[in-house]
């Protein structure tokens, strides 16, 4: 698949998505900007470059399409903005985020039939199992496409992930690429203080996974790592990417702590954030 966008164009789109994120969260004075900003580069790379899928019409089964499952559903702003910017639904709908009668629920849901969402997430630890089930259905259907799944690092504290990690390796689910957003932060503080978790790659490798490192806030590195991850598919082992990111990336005052995990900027902070994120393809 040839790239439709240059690295610089993808960076521009990522800037626009980051603008959307802070504006969406500001408009409703709730939501999770920190992790959303940190994972923006990955989602833009997936939806604008790496994944082979049809933006329209949305097909729930995703036959002959690459599929993305967001397990850490609280970073819904980045998912919604990226999908809208990719043409899956109208960007104007971003203004309804978290409001009554919106399809853009606080956490992603299929219940309101928002195109692009295949599973509800928010209660943590469930997405990798669902992604693995989707990967199995693709294998049964001789569908050669790939399933991608993003989790948070704090989310690995949920035991169900380790059931899925064990299962996917034992069953040689090799059409699955998982990402762990290693930003080192969770609601109550740094993951180091709350539940120290070291040697992630060794742990996954001991379970039988292939592992990669990635700078999740460097678009060129994201693209090359994703290319490498795809080249490792089909050899009997699932792939996990340890994705180093900065929570709040792109907005200086949101970076460097867990403080912006789940709070909204005020008017002044919004103006400050937007001044750091040049408008690229037009605000919604």
């Amino acid at each position: 698949m040839t790239s439709k966008y240059t690295v610089n164009q993808l960076k521009d789109i990522a800037n626009q998505v980051r603008r959307d994120i802070v504006r969406m969260v500001h408009a409703v004075q709730s939501g999770h900007p920190g992790g959303s900003l940190g994972c923006t580069d990955l989602l833009v790379a997936l939806y604008f470059d790496v994944m082979d899928y049809k933006a329209k019409p949305f097909n729930m089964k995703g036959e002959d399409e690459d599929i993305f499952i967001l397990s850490n559903g609280h970073i819904s702003p980045v998912l919604y903005s990226t999908m809208a910017r990719a043409g899956i639904f109208d960007v104007a709908e971003l203004s309804t985020f978290r409001k009554l009668n919106s399809r853009l629920q606080g956490h992603p849901a299929t219940h309101e039939h928002l195109e692009g969402v295949r599973i509800a997430s928010g209660s943590l630890g469930q997405g990798l199992s669902v992604a693995t089930g989707l990967a199995l259905s693709k294998r049964m259907n001789q569908d050669p496409k790939t399933v991608f799944c993003l989790m948070g690092d704090g989310e690995l504290q949920e035991g169900q992930n380790w059931e899925a990690i064990m299962f996917a390796a034992h069953n040689k689910v090799d059409n699955l690429i998982a990402f762990v957003d290693f930003n080192g932060q969770q609601i109550d503080g740094s993951t180091k203080n709350i539940m120290g978790f070291t040697e992630m790659k060794n742990k996954f490798e001991a379970f039988g996974w292939q592992t990669l490192d990635m700078d999740g806030n460097n678009m060129a590195d994201v693209l090359s790592t994703l290319m490498q991850a795809k080249s490792m598919l089909g050899n009997g082992k699932p792939v996990v990417v340890k994705m180093k990111t900065e929570m709040g990336y792109g907005v200086d005052f949101m970076m460097g702590s867990h403080e912006w995990h789940g709070i909204a900027p005020n008017d002044e902070q919004l103006a400050n954030a937007l001044a750091q994120l040049p408008e690229a393809i037009g605000d919604y």
Binding site: T110, T132, G159
Partner: protein, 317 residues
């Protein structure tokens, strides 16, 4: 009282296994998943004939529910199998978010429900599963009464698009419904016509209700006996028509009083036609080790308890 013949003695879980095998042959989208209880769930025959459509998840029920949600998203019809306790209470949030709220076509098939599991004791004897499952929006809840009905229900739920909880049990039990019957979700089975009292029964206690009906008939009391195999959606028309005729009701189930069939019947009657009800169910208690027969007696779920409940409720008319 109509005469109901015992055709055989078989466990309802074997009805599930037989139904699943037939589905495997007729529907290529049906996938079986089991969490290390393949023999107990009678899924061996399906596994043997369709190894490429059988998924052994190991002792990891949460992952099994998530896998099933993913398989359903991809267009498969997953049937998960484990004990009722591990099918519901253990994985409630997984079912709530990944299956029910997400509207996935997953069939949660649960064996060893209730006290008739027997000697394993209360850790395994879930008596709360019907309540847990029926509270989830959109979840269908079915508790068949014998081998043939369980087999027919298993086959029927594959044609229904949406999440289903199918509950069955461990012990050998009288088989008294027709082989190769057609199962209609949400359509109650009117076993006996009577005017004195309505008996609404589900699961293993349907047979006990039939035996109670025979005893009552000898006493000159003709009971209107209705098998509510589908607790949700409830066959409201059948329940209301019966109580309009009889003026009182007894419910019988192998479940807690809280959250079970009796609770659904009481809600329906309270809102539409308040009449006296007596409930044969477990009264806010855990079970314990023992034989199924001993436990049914100790926990007040036997024929005599239904007869006594009828006498009580008729006095309250």
């Amino acid at each position: 009282m109509v005469k109901i013949e015992i055709l055989d003695q078989k466990d309802t879980r074997s009805g599930f296994g037989a139904g699943l095998l037939e589905l495997g042959r007729s529907n290529p989208n049906v996938v079986g998943l089991c969490a290390d209880l393949t023999g107990s769930l009678k899924m061996d025959a399906f596994k043997k004939e369709f190894p490429e459509r059988f998924i052994q998840t190991g002792i990891a029920e949460a992952n099994m529910i998530g896998l099933a949600a993913g398989l359903a998203t991809g267009g498969k019809i997953p049937f998960t199998g484990t004990f009722a306790n591990f099918s519901t209470g253990r994985v409630y949030d997984q079912i709530r978010q990944s299956v029910a709220y997400s509207g996935k076509n997953v069939k949660i098939c649960a064996s060893h429900a209730g006290v008739t599991l027997g000697e394993d004791g209360a850790t395994h004897q879930i008596l709360e599963d019907i309540g847990l499952m029926k509270m989830l929006p959109g979840m269908v809840v079915i508790n068949p009464c014998d081998y043939n009905q369980t087999k027919a229900a298993t086959i029927a739920i594959a044609d229904y698009v949406g999440p289903v909880y199918l509950r069955f049990g461990r012990p050998k039990w009288p088989v008294f419904t027709a082989p190769d019957q057609k199962f209609e979700i949400g359509k109650a089975w009117h076993i006996n016509q009577g005017n004195a009292v309505s008996i609404f029964c589900t699961g293993h206690l349907v047979w006990k209700a039939i035996k109670a009906g025979e005893i009552l008939a000898e006493m000159g009391i003709e009971a209107d006996i209705i098998n509510i195999h589908t607790i949700k959606p409830l066959d409201k028309d059948a329940v209301l028509a019966s109580v309009a005729k009889t003026g009182c009701a007894v419910t019988a189930e192998e479940h807690q009083m809280n959250g079970g069939l009796g609770d659904s019947i009481c809600q329906l009657l309270a809102l539409n036609n308040p009449r006296p009800v007596e409930m044969v169910a477990v009264n806010d208690s855990f079970g314990e080790s023992g034989t199924p027969d001993q436990l049914l007696v100790k926990y007040g779920l036997d024929t005599v308890n239904i007869v006594d409940a009828v006498k009580r409720v008729m006095k309250r008319k």
